[in-house]
């Protein structure tokens, strides 16, 4: 099965929550020097929940789609819920199987998110 499923390509071509937030509660920027993927993520928290979240991702289709889908998912979630998200969640969310080499691409947004809410 190709990993370039319609849903992945849809998020790749029109990423949700793309951009920056003015006056965020927190910001983080991460990169994967191995392939040059970078992500900047801003969050606004309110009452222990993620109220707004935005990102700018440059990289492969998998990392961009992962950032787009993940930011959609976590809106309105509590910090505790977000901390629990792991690799298996990301793979289920993307709905594809990934080789070890591509896993890092898919996990960069989650890594950023976890840094962001710490």
């Amino acid at each position: 099965m190709s990993i370039y499923q319609d849903v992945i390509l849809d998020h790749y071509h029109s990423p949700r929550n793309e951009g920056r937030i003015k006056n965020p509660s927190n910001s983080v920027s991460l990169s994967n020097p191995l392939c040059g993927d970078t992500i900047v993520m801003d969050v606004v928290e309110k009452n222990g929940k993620i109220e707004r979240i935005a990102h700018i991702s440059t990289g492969c289709a998998i990392s961009k789609a992962s950032a787009s889908m993940l930011t959609e998912y976590v809106k309105g979630k509590t910090k505790d819920e977000v901390v629990k998200l792991d690799k298996d969640f990301i793979l289920t969310m993307l709905g594809i199987e990934l080789s070890a080499n591509r896993l890092r691409c898919a996990l960069l947004p989650l890594e950023s998110l976890h840094k962001l809410i710490k």
Partner: protein
């Protein structure tokens, strides 16, 4: 052009994986049957340790092992097999020089010079050595066309009369000049002989270390003619087994150098108070080596020689020229091949960008059709930074690649366009 269909029959991987389009020989080459069979021959017929046994199969193994040393020396134009050291890979060969000679000669305020197009294996050991010993680490830049920036202003490399000007690069304080013969990303073939001449004119005691990992598999090389002091390359990129590297060095230097590793095989006499070591090459081959690998490496060289290094180079030149032309014709400016645009001054390595598609996506979609290319920085991060690229896709050609592989690549790239739009 070589007869690809005939050649493919010699590589068992094409029988077990007939649709494979292998375009990653710069990372590692495929192996012909004769090499694989030679490995098995050692393990099934004379699987004994070398240099130790006073029995027939050990003597046979030693003889086969040393025969490879002789053939390797001949293959690279050296008249002295004792100048050939077997290591684990080209990286270890280069590290051996950095440790055993570098640490002996580099002092504070000396200069160590590399180039921005060096593979990490010929970059990092020298960078670290310079930092440890307080030496200055200098990096030769490239031109926008992908040539080393060492040419006299009024001469162009395309002109065979070009002049090399190393003013401001090499000085009397320069102890090491480490360069790739061929860049593993740009494909640029550096005029190593002329560089060595020009560098040694400024500083005759300078040591030149040539990383020939991408050169020895693809073109005829003669270490005496090049004039470098050390030449490193690796077996697995030239049809041989993985786990074997070669270091060729001038004997008087090897003799002066301290051992790289201590232990079995490399000693002459060990006493409680002190130890004396064997002469080169054995001084540098501590412990039981990769015997099967070394033995089978000679079959790789025999295979290459049977095809002919000149024929291989001509074939790769033709196929690279065809590929660059076809890609340009099909995709126009959307495809940008890095490095020299002229197939004559480059080898069969073609790193490229394709629109705004990420190299990972390109490689992954090509893999869906069993086309193997490499994506990433190819162990040349400083070079990618210089090119202002975070990664490139790289297709590379060898003697088993033909025009149909180029056509499959083009088809695959069309599919990339279709999927990623």
């Amino acid at each position: 052009m070589l007869n690809i269909n005939q050649i493919k029959k010699d590589f068992p991987i094409f029988s077990s994986d007939p649709t494979l389009v292998y375009l990653d020989s710069t990372a590692t080459s495929l192996k012909p049957r004769s090499v694989i069979e030679k490995m098995t021959e050692y393990y099934s017929k004379y699987s004994a340790n070398v240099f130790r046994g006073i029995y027939k199969i050990s003597e046979k193994a030693t003889e086969e092992y040393e025969e490879t040393r002789k053939i390797t020396a001949e293959f690279i134009g050296s008249s002295n097999p004792d100048e050939v050291i077997f290591t684990r890979n080209a990286t270890e060969s280069l590290n051996l020089v950095a440790y055993s000679l570098g640490r002996l000669i580099i002092e504070e305020d000396d200069e160590v010079v590399v180039s921005i197009m060096d593979h990490h294996s010929n970059f990092v050991p020298w960078q670290q050595l310079a930092a440890e010993n307080g030496a200055t680490f200098k990096v030769i830049d490239i031109t926008d066309e992908g040539y080393l920036q060492i040419f006299h202003k009024e001469s162009r490399i395309q002109n065979s009369e070009f002049r090399i000007d190393l003013t401001g690069i090499i000085s009397k304080r320069t102890k090491i000049l480490a360069l790739p013969y061929i860049s593993n990303v740009l494909g640029t073939i550096n005029p190593i002989k002329k560089i060595v001449e020009a560098a040694k004119k400024i500083n005759p005691s300078l040591i030149v270390v040539a990383d020939a990992a991408q050169a020895v598999p693809h073109k005829e090389i003669n270490v005496k003619e090049i004039g470098a002091d050390f030449v490193a390359f690796s077996s697995h990129k030239m049809l041989g087994p993985t786990g074997i590297g070669v270091l060729w060095g001038r004997y008087e230097l090897l003799d002066r150098m301290t051992p790289f590793q201590y232990g079995g095989e490399m000693i002459d006499e060990v006493r409680i108070e002190s130890t004396t070591f064997k002469h080169p090459p054995h001084k540098f081959e501590a412990g039981t080596p990769h015997i099967a690998g070394v033995i089978a490496l000679k079959e790789a060289m025999r295979y290459l020689q049977q095809i002919g290094m000149k024929n291989i180079r001509d074939h790769e030149k033709a196929i690279t020229g065809y590929a660059m032309e076809t890609l340009k014709k099909t995709f126009g400016e959307k495809i940008q091949v890095v490095g020299p645009q002229d197939a004559k001054s480059r080898c069969g390595i073609m790193a490229f960008t394709f629109g705004s598609y990420h190299p990972h996506d390109i490689a992954q979609i090509l893999d869906e059709d069993n086309i193997a290319i490499r994506a990433g920085h190819h162990c040349a991060m400083p070079l990618h930074k210089r090119l202002q690229l975070s990664a490139t896709a790289r297709a590379s050609f060898y003697l088993y690649n033909g025009e149909e592989d180029v056509e499959k690549l083009v088809e695959g790239l069309r599919k990339v366009e279709k999927i990623l739009k």
